[in-house]
């Protein structure tokens, strides 16, 4: 999993939610995110999930999303092998969100404040994590 978020508090909280479910890398700006994604593909690996802040100072999330999909396309990666992308945004900006869905084929979006239940339900729907183990409660 990769969290791309330039703001420390938001980044830390996202990592705290995700880290029980796997290794969680971080990128603090767009350039770093593109470099990290590129490096993963260079070693025939990829991230199952990218949580991507849509508004960052240098390369914004939309641009990163386009680059990610180009990296996948150039390697023939698609369908269920494609990286799931959840965009995060500080406001319910419908135009930005629609663009991310239409042009970047993002899978979900979250508005800040991030809600851990909503994030985890997206991950379950994407089959990236399992159902919680309720059996241990009985």
């Amino acid at each position: 999993m990769l969290v791309v978020e330039d703001e420390f508090i938001s980044r830390t909280l996202l990592v705290e939610i995700l880290k029980p479910y796997g290794i969680c890398h971080v990128a603090t700006n767009g350039d770093e995110a593109v470099a990290v994604l590129d490096r993963a593909y260079a070693v025939n690996s990829h991230y199952d999930l990218v949580c991507l802040d849509i508004m960052m100072p240098d390369i914004d999330g939309q641009e990163i999303l386009k680059k990610l999909r180009c990296m996948e396309a150039s390697r023939g990666i698609g369908g269920r092998q494609a990286t799931r992308v959840i965009i995060t945004t500080a406001l319910d900006d419908s135009r930005t969100i629609i663009e991310a869905f239409l042009h970047g084929r993002c899978d979900a979006y979250l508005t800040k404040p991030i809600d851990s239940d909503t994030l985890l339900s997206h991950l379950r729907y994407m089959q990236l994590i399992g159902e919680p183990d309720y059996a241990s409660s009985f």
């Binding site: 420390f8 508090i9 938001s10 830390t12 500080a90 404040p113 851990s116």
Partner: protein, 110 residues
């Protein structure tokens, strides 16, 4: 709101919203408050520059932090700064808005 009240409000929000334990929140709080202080300072630097785009970007950053700390009412003020600055609105008294935001979070960041 006093520093203790603000801190309690943030702690409760973080525990509930992110399902964090009180110990986890205690470990995070000093860094979060220090970060908020840096964001506020950056907003003031942006204000001194007089460049609405810089003010807007700094307003955006602190807005996201405030939202994730459960301070949605303060984030509204940051959003007002961001939105107007990014629209290049020079009729706004940004000094007053930024000073108001500092007054609100001063109990936390000093």
């Amino acid at each position: 709101m006093s520093a203790a009240q603000l801190t309690d409000r943030i702690r409760s929000f973080l525990c509930e919203q992110f399902q964090l334990t009180p110990d986890q929140v205690s470990a995070m709080m000093p860094n979060f408050i220090a970060t908020l202080s840096v964001h506020m300072a950056n907003l003031e630097v942006g204000l001194a520059s007089g460049d609405p785009q810089i003010i807007g970007k700094a307003g955006h950053t602190i807005k996201g932090a405030l939202l994730n700390l459960g301070l949605a009412d303060y984030a509204e003020l940051a959003f007002a700064i961001e939105k107007r600055a990014k629209n290049g609105d020079r009729s706004v008294d940004y000094h007053a808005l930024v000073a108001n935001l500092r007054r609100l979070i001063a109990p936390l960041i000093g």
